[in-house]
Symmetry: C2
Subunit: 504 residues, 2 copies
């Protein structure tokens, strides 16, 4: 076989693994949006089987030998070429996956599929005890998973982190989060002492159909097209790409407020990143975006930097007023902008403001570390959650639905995911400032409802590359430096100063 | 290994194949109901990969050896036992599948997935030429498929038939259909000469939301429960079971009439058959209902024998009147019953009455035979279609959307499926008459909106058995005899006499 034939063989094998994974993503999307509840046990069989085969196919000796035999060829390639990236990424993933037995892989999937509806039901009833056995099973399996990497020299929690961010280290994250706590906690205290922002008009009765209409109007301006995207309601919003031209957003509506706008725009950011990947990378591991820091940088950029900005609301607020004249007829766009940027300690992460958001993440990160280290028994988790909410945000948690049960992640076995939200938020400010430096009329474009130039800039500088560079290198290429908390801290301080008139 | 271990191994392998197949069914359901159109090429990769692996896993030497090694064990079993049926069915399927290379299997799937949206688009534009290349590809692949069975001694068309009805023979079907033509064509002529039934009130403006509401009300009375079923709109109605507790119906709404009721109840019959299978057969080939004659007997039973019956409308018509008082306020339930049983040659099979329906099927069956035998060039298919419509029904086809492009089947490679609709319709009358003989108050139950006893009778006598008996034996067990056209002919004649007052 020639190198070209070997590479074609590798691509075909990886292509089929890709097909399996995306089929699995569809089965998961369906479980969260469409599946009748009694379908759960069969769905767990189906997903476990798909995961098992994709895994077995990937960790096979044949694939390992193929990668081995392509070593000379790889060394002769431009290291920045697609083929070199493909071989490098496939080898990294193969070496990692190879450690995990197919039975464990299938069992982890099965437990996750069973965990999600159990969580949704428990959350509905604010019944942590009902969820506990599922959570326990997920944690047990994660510890077994960690054992597969016992000789890797990595800290246990870092093994989990690696699934969401290549080579992330908790030591570094802890340091960044310590710095943020240093800034955020006093900032929250300052705001608490200042005159509060008027938000009464943002609460009331907002029929779901109108919210959906408005959400779609925003999405279509931002870049959603119905030939390649969907939007559906779910319990906990998420985005997934069944294919580069089949992007699925989900959101959730509450009739009491308009938070759905921010869920939708957050998920849009995820979707746009996938949608923007160069089609020549399709059906390879180079479309498997594995840096959740970069991914969350995009959800947070579109959610916060775009959809909580003044120019955005200059354009969209009149439309919102038209839809809800009774509630918003007398409100100015400036007042609305202040309301959606209010800072206020609250219970729910996905509805929290930009300042307290970080604290919600840090709390989860700290608890996850305790759980994985075996220092916190799962029975005691709600108590620990509530204590930290009190300590950091001075918030009393009335029940577990509004506390420890609020997020889907742990029910689906995602430990190590949460920190990427906050790290991604830091990156979002760095990327935003770079974009603003180059697209000098960005504000006036947004004020005119135009987002095409921003989209193209992001696609060109970031999206199209897929996974061709390691996350740190990708960020370096976009913003010219490493991840940095200071732009975020300064951004928050400036906003708080503007809205609350406090000197920070 | 003991026989028990071998059987457990067989069950586990078949279980995983089952998981793959149902995952594939979900991907297909999604393609028809949810997927954004640009997702098609990736979906064809995904489905081709899943089908390829399920096929390879199934036709493997290991599975063949396992079946071989269970021969003695099988001979010692009660032939009516679950295990005996499992081994027999798996062996039959294995011997058949083994003849088909995995590449061909994957290619057939790929062509089907690409064909369906091309058909939907062509149908929308009444553009047969745009669909022709896809149809040609499907036919080519079917001929390659037939070649895999060259030494089986079967007629080419019978090889295709076997995928929908075990051991069905076109010779026999042709004889049954000749008998039906003998009766149906004169019957249609008689009706044409008689005083026509008033149907003007059945046409007008019926908003989709109200139709959906009414459709769900019917479904819930019939036995649909939202914990295990879904109903969604699509271009061409179908039903699928992603799992025994995850039944998906689809229907289609036209604002101009209330035909959706009959689409929905037809698909309900399919769903109920799957839903009624004994749960102990789950995740085995014994839930893969492969007799489309029996399957269609249930869709047609619920569509026609139940939902076009007088007692059904005695119960439901007042509710329909409430929803559409302007159109139906002055109509009696008797007049409505007559209208939904009118006999009238028309263009669209799925909207045709019980008498002309058979002609629509016979037309397709005859054309399929010509195509597969190579006697009819695909370019000439619309002309041949239109000529037969004129000859049999005296109907002029205004365009191909209302002619050759109306059905989804050929776009998805289903050749040999159509005859099962009519054979199933014959069986539906036989089964119905048996049920009525045993459930003597069936009419008064239906008139009270009660369908539980009928459902239980069907589940007990038919549904729960899944695929434990060959189709002919299953029908024999239910009705005490073989498939027979006469009850159907007599049923139609009686209805026509009653409605049109003609002696036939």
């Amino acid at each position: 076989m020639t190198d070209e034939q070997r590479l074609a063989d590798l691509r075909e094998r990886l292509g089929m693994i890709h097909d399996f994974r995306r089929a699995g993503w569809l089965l998961s999307w369906d479980q969260h949006t469409m599946m009748p509840p009694n379908g759960t046990p069969s769905r767990s069989d189906q997903l476990a089987t798909i995961d098992r085969f994709a895994h077995e196919l990937f960790i096979s000796d044949e694939l390992g030998q193929l990668l081995e035999s392509l070593g000379d060829y790889e060394r002769g390639l431009d290291p920045e070429s697609v083929d070199a990236a493909l071989i490098r990424v496939a080898r990294r993933d193969w070496e990692k996956a190879r450690r995990v037995p197919a039975d464990l892989r299938a069992e982890i999937t099965r437990a996750e599929v069973m965990g999600v509806p159990a969580w949704a039901e428990a959350r509905k009833n604010a019944d942590y005890q009902a969820f506990l056995p599922y959570l326990r099973r997920n944690v047990e399996l994660k510890l077994e998973y960690i054992d597969c990497f016992a000789d890797s020299g990595k800290a246990p929690y870092d093994i989990l982190l690696d699934d969401y961010q290549e080579d992330a280290r908790s030591e570094e994250i802890t340091a960044v989060f310590a710095r943020l706590k240093e800034e955020l906690i006093p900032l929250i205290r300052e705001v608490k002492g200042a005159e509060q922002v008027e938000t009464s008009f943002a609460h009331g009765h907002f029929p779901v159909e109108k919210q959906e209409l408005f959400g779609r109007e925003i999405l279509e301006r931002l870049g959603y097209t119905s030939d390649a995207w969907r939007l559906d309601p779910t319990v906990h919003p998420f985005a997934t790409s069944i294919a580069l031209d089949d992007i699925r957003l989900t959101t959730r509506y509450s009739e009491a407020d308009l938070e759905s706008i921010f869920h939708t725009s957050h998920e849009f950011g995820h979707g746009l990143y996938e949608y923007g990947i160069d089609r020549q990378l399709d059906r390879t591991p180079l479309v498997e975006l594995n840096s959740m820091v970069l991914h969350e940088s995009q959800s947070r950029l579109w959610e916060n930097l775009v959809c909580r900005s003044r120019p955005f609301w200059r354009f969209f607020f009149p439309k919102l007023q038209e839809l809800f004249p009774e509630q918003l007829g007398d409100v100015t766009d400036e007042a609305w902008w202040r309301a959606v940027n209010r800072v206020e300690p609250s219970l729910i992460r996905v509805e929290s403001d930009e300042v307290t958001y970080g604290i919600h993440i840090i709390l989860r990160y700290e608890l996850e570390q305790e759980i994985i280290a075996g220092r916190l028994a799962l029975e005691d988790l709600p108590e620990a959650w509530n204590a930290k909410m009190k300590e950091y945000l001075d918030v009393d948690v009335p029940d577990d639905a509004k506390g420890v049960l609020q997020d889907v992640h742990w029910s689906g076995g995602s430990f190590g995911y949460f920190p990427t939200y906050l790290l991604g938020t830091l990156a979002s400010v760095q990327i935003w400032e770079t974009a603003r430096g180059e697209l000098t009329d960005l504000d006036s474009q947004m004020e005119a409802g135009e987002f095409g130039a921003l989209r193209e800039w992001l696609a060109e500088r970031m999206y199209r590359w897929g996974r061709r560079f390691p996350p740190g290198e990708m960020l370096q290429r976009i913003v010219g430096g490493p991840l940095d908390a200071e732009p975020y801290v300064n951004y928050l301080k400036a906003k708080v100063t503007e809205i609350y008139g406090v000197r920070v």
